[in-house]
Structures are given as structure tokens and as C-alpha cells.
């Protein structure tokens, strides 16, 4: 089983990288871009045979203890059969 974790800065937390990317896109003529936010995608390969609920609970624990800093970030978990 695979778990995909998306970690993004919370709304309201300044993302200077996203701002710079957005400004550069505008400069390149992509006028339709109003803003950009940059996040991370973390792919975890999990042991086979885990129940989906149990896997999700474990990955949530991983997010809370290491993968995300919930002071500034939020996360989203997707589970997929490998």
C-alpha cells in the first residue's frame, strides 16, 4: 500500500516562494495567475496487508509527529494500492 501525504502552508501563512513564483509567471505573460502556493508531496510505501483505517491512523500520527508542523502547515493523506 502507498500513502501520499500532501503538506501545505496554512491559509494566512505567508509563502514567499509561492509569491515569487506567481510574480515570475506574471512577468512571463501568464496574466491569469492570481497567486501560487508551494507545498510538498511525500510518498510512503507501507507494508502489505495493512487495513486501510489502521494505515490512515498511523500516517496521521506520522504527520503529527514529524511530517508536518501544524503550527504553520496542514496535511492531507491519500491511500492507494501500490
Amino acid at each position: 500500500m502507498k500513502a501520499i501525504v500532501y503538506v501545505e502552508l496554512k491559509n494566512g501563512v505567508l509563502d514567499p516562494q509561492g509569491k515569487a513564483v506567481s510574480e515570475t509567471l506574471s512577468r512571463l505573460g501568464f496574466d491569469e495567475v492570481k497567486s501560487a502556493r508551494i507545498g510538498k508531496r511525500i510518498e510512503l510505501e507501507l507494508e502489505d496487508g495493512l487495513a486501510k483505517d489502521a494505515a490512515e491512523a498511523r500516517v496521521k500520527e506520522m504527520c503529527e509527529s514529524l511530517l508536518a508542523n501544524t503550527v504553520i502547515e496542514r496535511y492531507q493523506i491519500e491511500l492507494a494500492d501500490a
Binding site: L14, Q17, A20, L66
Partner: protein, 223 residues
């Protein structure tokens, strides 16, 4: 005062901290490798130094904040020990929850490396006991992720409780409310982005950081 310095893979200001502590206390500080779970006996004061622990992987301080030594560091804090987290050390202390908030990428995106003017905020910690409240000191900064962030309620709490130790005179990184350093609730843990250990009156040019160490040393001597 018996001092120690925690060393992580990628710490690079550990030598600066060791040199400063030796110069000021006259004794070699204990060097504590992050993988040990045996806390040296009799420590009064520990520096979590600057650098790029674990190459800043995932987030600055995230991996170091989960090192084997961290439960021992937390126990030391809970027992009333004095801790100074400098730069990456500040980032690590926020990751462990010993200090609130987080350090984001500098608002201007650039790595900032220069002397900064800091204003000593009114507070009652040993770290600032030898500075005059409101006075201006010059301490160097060198960081890419020093933009202090916390929600408004936390910022109000820090300000209301006198837990802001230093503010920038010219905010170099976008930090909320110009905050350069904050204190724990018991005022014995200080995290700051500027480097006082690089301003102790030697070859490095300034001496305004020295009183931060002597302040702790003298407070411990009279305690």
C-alpha cells in the same frame, strides 16, 4: 556554571558556542552528541547551536527536533535548566514545542548575513539581566529561515507576558512584530535567530552578545 553544547549532524556554530562558553566561564563546556540518551550530570546551561542540522531536510529543525537527545533536553527544561537556542537551535526548540511559533522562509527570500541592531524588550530573564531594558545591541544574523510566525493569540500572549526578549530595529526577515527572540514561560529557555556567541569581544568584531552569557552565569552563581 557547568555548560553544555548539543551537536547534531550539520551543526556548524557548535564551535563558536564552545569557544564563547570557554572564554566566558573559563571551563570547557560538555559536548553532547545528539544520539546520546544519557544527559551529562550537573549541567546548568545548555546551548542548542546554529547550523543546518540534517541539511534542513523536511523543515529546518524538524529532524533534529526528533533526535534521541530531545526527551532529555525537555526533561532538563522541565527541571528548570537554562537553554539558549541560537538560529537553527531556535528552529529546533520551536519544533520540539519548548518554544511556541515557527520560523518561516525570510520574507525577502534572501539569505541574510549581517550585523543587526536589536532592541532589548522589557522582560525578567537571566539572559537579559545585564542589559538595560530598551537598549540597543548589535548582534550578527545569518539565516534563510528566520521569519518568526505565530498566530495572533500566541503573539499577544508573548507580548502580554513579557516573553519577547529581543526585537529587530530593522526587521531583516519579515518576523511577526519584529520579534528576534522569545522566552519560555519560566524565562529559562531563550530562542533567537541572531548569534550572540559571535559577538563576545574577540576577533569577531563586536561584544554585545557577551552579557547574555554572563547574565546567565551570574544569575546561576547567586541562585
Amino acid at each position: 556554571m557547568k555548560a553544555g553544547v548539543i551537536i547534531f549532524p550539520g551543526s556548524n556554530c557548535d564551535r563558536d558556542a564552545i569557544t564563547a562558553l570557554k572564554d566566558i566561564t573559563g571551563q570547557d563546556p560538555v559536548q553532547i552528541w545528539h544520539k546520546t540518551t544519557e544527559w551529562p550530570k550537573g549541567l546548568d546551561f545548555v546551548v542548542v547551536p546554529g547550523g543546518f542540522s540534517y541539511g534542513d531536510y523536511l523543515r529546518c529543525g524538524a529532524m533534529a527536533g526528533n533526535s534521541p537527545i530531545i526527551p532529555e533536553l525537555k526533561a532538563f527544561a522541565n527541571s528548570g535548566g537554562h537553554i539558549l537556542g541560537i538560529c537553527n537551535g531556535f528552529q529546533i526548540l520551536t519544533e520540539t514545542g519548548l518554544l511556541p511559533g515557527a520560523l518561516l522562509r525570510n520574507a525577502g527570500l534572501n539569505f541574510v548575513c549581517r550585523n543587526e541592531r536589536l532592541i532589548v524588550s522589557p522582560n525578567s530573564s537571566a539572559f537579559t539581566s545585564e542589559y538595560q531594558s530598551g537598549s540597543e545591541i548589535i548582534v550578527p544574523v545569518a539565516h534563510h529561515d528566520g521569519n518568526f510566525f505565530a498566530d495572533d493569540a500566541t503573539l499577544d500572549m508573548l507580548e502580554g507576558d513579557g516573553r519577547v526578549a529581543f526585537r529587530y530595529a530593522d526587521n531583516p526577515n519579515g518576523s511577526a512584530r519584529d520579534i528576534a527572540g522569545i522566552l519560555s514561560e519560566n524565562r529559562r529557555v531563550l530562542g533567537m535567530m541572531p548569534h550572540p556567541e559571535r559577538a563576545i569581544g574577540g576577533h569577531e568584531g563586536g561584544s554585545d552578545g557577551r552579557a547574555m552569557f554572563t547574565g546567565v552565569m551570574n544569575a546561576l552563581a547567586t541562585a
